[in-house]
């Protein structure tokens, strides 16, 4: 399996991680319309090519991290930002 560049543990086998997919910004839970909320729940861009995604180092440091992966080749690169400060 491919290597995921964990910012804490270095490149590690993807089997150690849980895939959490394309980050979807959470709408304001008090103001979101059903359409917005269900977009957050169900709609993803499903890009064919490079995209940002979130992984969780389940069998390692237990940190969430961002990577850039090309979904057509599985080529992975570290993402420039950390989880929590994507914006």
């Amino acid at each position: 399996m491919m290597l995921i560049p964990c910012p804490w543990c270095g490149p590690r086998d993807a089997a150690e991680f849980a895939y959490l997919g394309e980050p979807a910004p959470r709408p304001d839970p008090t103001a979101a319309s059903p359409e917005q909320w269900r977009g957050y729940l169900y709609l993803r861009h499903n890009v064919a090519g490079p995209g940002t995604e979130r992984w969780y180092h389940r069998m390692g440091c237990r940190r969430h991290l961002l990577v850039e992966r090309d979904t057509t080749t599985n080529e992975v690169r570290p993402h420039r930002s950390h989880v929590g400060d994507e914006s």
Partner: protein, 954 residues
């Protein structure tokens, strides 16, 4: 051994060690080092199997692992490659698929009707009547081609051992021919650790049968490999696949202690050096025993000292064909004729059925012979390169597909025949240069990995820097394009697919290579296309009047060589989680229950008695698998408020609260109780199966949405043994083993928590909660002392009738009390309202997981409800999963939980019902599994025992 030659200079058999084995019941001799096929061939055996479709006799073609005509059954192992597997003493070898015998095979009658069985014939007939198809099917099944797997009853586990190994070489070299060996040596000299993997039983590749000219070069290369530091050699091993980031799998065979081993390597560089595979030639009768490839002849003569025949005709298009001719002459085979394909020579037909009797040449001449040797070209086994992203292109000048090294990622290189031709010196030089580059790139990868590991120990790269010398180009020799003579013959020997079949497929519209292959099944057999793919493409190109380049190549899929399920599985490795009390349960005749990762006691023989003990006296259950998370930090209440439906800001120290979590779609995720042990210290429990999910769920909120919150989570599920003491006399029992906690109901009321010493064990956590509906204490004891506390409780409670109860009794108790189990009484669509949890949902909280969905659900009235049911006949227990039938005959819900209640002496039932049916007092119909219908009434609440909760609070 009538066909055994005198001692040959390069032979691999040990004439000092004679073995015997059986073939179809008859005993044969062999020398150590013989393959099954070489030993049999030395004794004059020429037929080893029958072909798939027409049951034509088949002999040796390649005399290698790939030989399609030499698949045999060895003991209980099917599909053994007889031309590769070494003879072992006493081996029992049988031919496969023959009835009644190899010599007389009834199904060979298919040859006579072959003209009625064109490619895809089965798609065109047997269509009706439909009821007859199963009968046709049984007939077709008889043709299934392969050996037999053993019955479970006769299968001996100890005879089938497999294992796995992880390796981390700097450079992995796939192929131990001259270029591969040179690459390994050069990489090692540059400081790299090297794994050199060779498919054959020894290193050397084609040098092994290269004769006098290369003998000393081979000896020298082998010597350099042997003395080089840091090279590990695996022979009889094949690289199976190259996956992302050079994750490489290797199968290692022929080991003394295990049948096969899967070696998994994260190689910093991969050097692909598989050499070339000789390609068969397509002409009429090309599968008659006695037709073989030039490399087969040289293997038989040089390695095994076996005379391949008496009188030979050779079709040669290259120096290897010429060398085979020389080898035959040298050992006294009468070479009746050499047809030189470079000067337009050809052979068009073999005469003979079970052996070659004569061959018809391109000019019509007929030459009597018993051996036909072809040397018509090579296939580059590019599959590892294609797995790395290369797209091989057809090179008409060389008459083979070649991969462009420029298409490869930096960490994959290629050398040897798969790249080009050249003299031995050129191959070695190319290998060395490639090995040096591989070592340099491996060093760079290593530095990159270290640089990307902030927490790893930093160390200077030990690898020697070498110059960036890109490998020199290898020349590519011209070779005539020879795929098929003007007659039709077999293309895929495993599948019995002929060139005529391919032409038919194209004519019927299956024009693209993939469709024609699928229609005819060409390349689908155990040889995996290694011998036949290029011929298949060439014939499709010819039939479609396209070029080979336009027809293209096909996808090579892993594994490169067949690998046993045993090796892929490796040793059994399914861990089981056992509570520290499990040994006690085992010793007390507990019926084990496989509960996800855990083994738990289902009951101790009498679940109803266990229930009564809890209702009337006191019982103990091992609840260690309950998930436990230690939460620390000032922001824990904010986290709890976010993940639970209810409110947590005001939970006082020493208090416990029940909570339910929903996912963002409002669907119930998990439930449990959480206690506040100290100012900023909390202990959360989850369901057993939800422990990991909830931990990740909390981390997700903390790390992605609220990284500023100060909360630290430590999973402590297995740090504690957890014991629930339940029943009206539980306080009495607990009091006997706890000294430092005031158990008085006013001092330690329901839904409170204390820490204290239990049976002399300090730092225990005591909760007053009650899943069973009884007065109960849940004790979390440091795991190492769990068994001691358990036994102390039982000893102390002897006169109170204390006894252990299992999971089944607990299920009954909670059902009597109407407590739901997430995942059983709810499903993947149950939002909180459908689990009877409306009261817990605090919509006045600004935010919590799933809030919008639950707010919208709150505005609806038509969602399914969880209800209690009382069957009209109290003795009826509808099986869990039984359906509730609505008046219109449609499905109106289902029974989620049901048991006979020992306490009430009647059935207790929970059900999910459509809103229209879920009114207290309304009658519903349940369809029983036996087809009968029973009625039941919806109860007012979920609890059937002690609905007011007096027993809990006592």
């Amino acid at each position: 051994m009538a066909m055994r030659l005198e001692r040959q200079p390069d032979e691999v058999v040990d004439r000092d060690v004679t073995l015997t084995f059986t073939w179809n019941g008859r005993t044969y001799p062999a020398y150590a080092g013989d393959t099954i096929a070489s030993a049999l061939a030395a004794c004059g055996v020429r037929i080893f199997s029958r072909s798939f479709k027409y049951h034509r006799p088949r002999g040796l073609l390649t005399a290698s692992y790939l030989d399609p005509g030499c698949m045999v059954q060895v003991g209980d192992e099917p599909n053994v490659r007889g031309a590769h597997r070494l003879v072992e003493p006493g081996m029992r070898v049988r031919s496969q698929d023959t009835w009644p015998s190899l010599a007389v095979d009834v199904k060979a009658a298919n040859q006579l009707v072959g003209r009625f069985l064109p490619a895809g014939f089965y798609y065109k007939t047997f269509m009706g009547p439909r009821r007859l198809w199963p009968a046709y099917e049984r007939v077709l099944e008889r043709f299934a081609h392969g050996g037999e797997i053993p019955d479970l009853s006769s299968y001996q586990r100890q005879d089938h051992r497999y294992d796995q190994r992880h390796v981390h070489p700097d450079v992995l070299v796939a192929g131990g021919g001259p270029a591969g060996m040179a690459a390994a040596v050069a990489a090692a000299a540059a400081g790299a650790t090297v794994l050199l993997v060779e498919e054959e039983h020894a290193l050397g590749g084609h040098l092994r049968w290269g004769g006098d000219d290369v003998r000393s070069a081979l000896r020298e290369l082998r010597g350099r490999v042997e003395t080089a530091p840091g090279i590990e050699v695996l022979t009889d091993s094949v690289v199976l696949g190259r996956y992302d980031d050079n994750w490489v799998s290797v199968v290692q065979r022929g080991l003394p202690t295990v049948n096969e081993r899967l070696v998994k390597a994260r190689a910093k560089s991969l050097v692909v050096a598989p050499g070339l595979v000789e390609r068969p030639y397509v002409f009429a009768g090309n599968d008659v025993p006695g037709v073989m490839l030039s490399t087969a002849v040289r293997r038989l003569v040089d390695l095994y000292a076996v005379k391949p025949g008496h009188r030979a005709v050779v079709l040669s298009a290259n120096p290897d064909g010429d060398a085979a001719t020389e080898a035959l002459r040298r050992v006294g085979v009468d070479v009746a004729h050499v047809e030189d394909a470079r000067r337009g020579g050809d052979i068009v037909r073999v005469h003979g059925r079970d052996r070659v009797r004569a061959v018809e040449l391109g000019d019509g001449r007929r030459v009597d012979c018993d051996l036909v040797v072809t040397a018509t070209g090579w296939t580059a086994p590019v599959s590892l390169l294609t797995m790395a992203g290369a797209v091989p292109a057809y090179d008409a000048r060389a008459a083979r597909f070649r991969a462009d090294p420029a298409q490869l990622p930096d960490n994959v290189l290629a050398t040897g025949g798969v790249v080009g031709d050249g003299s031995l010196d050129e191959l070695v030089a190319h290998g060395e240069a490639t090995g040096r580059v591989a070592a340099r790139r491996a060093a760079a990868v290593g530095r990159r990995w270290r640089a990307a590991s902030p927490t790893a120990h930093k160390q200077a790269g030990p690898l020697v820097e070498v110059a960036d010398d890109a490998p020199p180009a290898l020349p590519v020799d011209p070779h005539p394009e020879l795929f098929r003579a003007r007659t039709h013959g077999i293309v895929d020997f495993s599948e019995d697919v002929s060139s005529a079949d391919l032409v038919t497929a194209v004519a019927e519209g299956y024009e693209s290579a993939e469709l024609a292959k699928r229609y005819t099944t060409a390349t689908m057999g155990p040889v995996q296309g290694k011998l036949e793919t290029v011929n298949v493409i060439a014939i499709i190109a010819e039939a479609t009047r396209r070029t080979i380049e336009e027809t293209g190549t096909t996808t090579w899929r892993p594994p490169y060589a067949p690998v046993t399920l045993g090796a892929l599985a490796g040793p059994e490795r399914e861990p089981v989680r056992r509570s520290p009390l499990q040994s006690w349960h085992d010793a007390h005749a507990a019926t084990p229950l496989v509960a996800g990762a855990w083994i738990r006691p289902d009951h101790y023989g009498d679940p109803a008695g266990e229930v009564r003990a809890v209702r009337e006296g006191v019982g103990l259950i091992d609840v260690t698998p309950i998930g436990k998370l230690d939460l620390h930090g000032p922001d824990v209440p904010r986290l709890l408020n976010l993940v639970y439906l209810n409110r947590w800001s005001k939970l006082a120290v020493g208090r416990v609260r029940y909570g339910v979590m929903c996912a963002e779609d409002g669907v119930v995720l998990d439930d449990g109780v959480t206690a506040r042990l100290g100012e900023s210290s909390y202990l959360m429990t989850t369901t057993s199966s939800g422990a990991a999910t909830v931990w990740e769920w909390l981390e997700r909120w903390l790390q992605t949405e609220h990284p500023d919150w100060r909360v630290h989570i430590t999973p402590v599920t297995t740090a504690y043994a957890s014991i629930n003491v339940a029943g009206p006399r539980s306080r009495e029992l607990v009091r006997r083993v706890v000294a430092d906690v005031d158990l008085d109901p006013d001092a330690f009321p329901y839904m409170h928590v204390r820490t204290g010493t239990v049976a002399g064990v300090a730092d225990c956590v005591l909760w007053r909660i009650g899943f069973t509906g009884e007065l109960s204490y849940e004790l979390h004891v440091p795991a190492g002392h769990g068994l001691h506390v358990w036994e102390a409780l039982l000893a102390a409670g002897g006169d109170l009738g204390a006894r252990a109860f299992g999971v089944e009794a607990q299920r009954i108790l909670r059902l009597e009390k109407g407590h739901l189990i997430v995942g059983q009484d709810t499903d993947g669509l149950s939002r909180a309202g459908s689990a009877g949890l409306e009261g817990l949902v605090k919509l006045d909280k600004e935010d919590f997981a799933g809030r919008p969905e639950l707010a919208w659900q709150d505005q609806q009235r038509d969602y399914p409800r969880l209800v209690g049911l009382r069957t009209t006949d109290p003795t009826v227990v509808p099986v869990e999963g039984s359906q509730v039938v609505a008046d219109d005959g449609g499905i109106g819900g289902r029974v989620t939980s049901s048991r006979m209640s020992p306490t009430l002496d009647r059935s207790v039932v929970l059900a999910q019902l459509d809103a229209s049916l879920a009114h207290a007092g309304s009658e519903v119909t349940i369809a029983m599994v036996d087809g009968t219908r029973v009625t039941a009434v919806v109860t007012a609440g979920l609890a059937q025992v002690d609905p007011e909760g007096e027993r809990l609070h006592g």
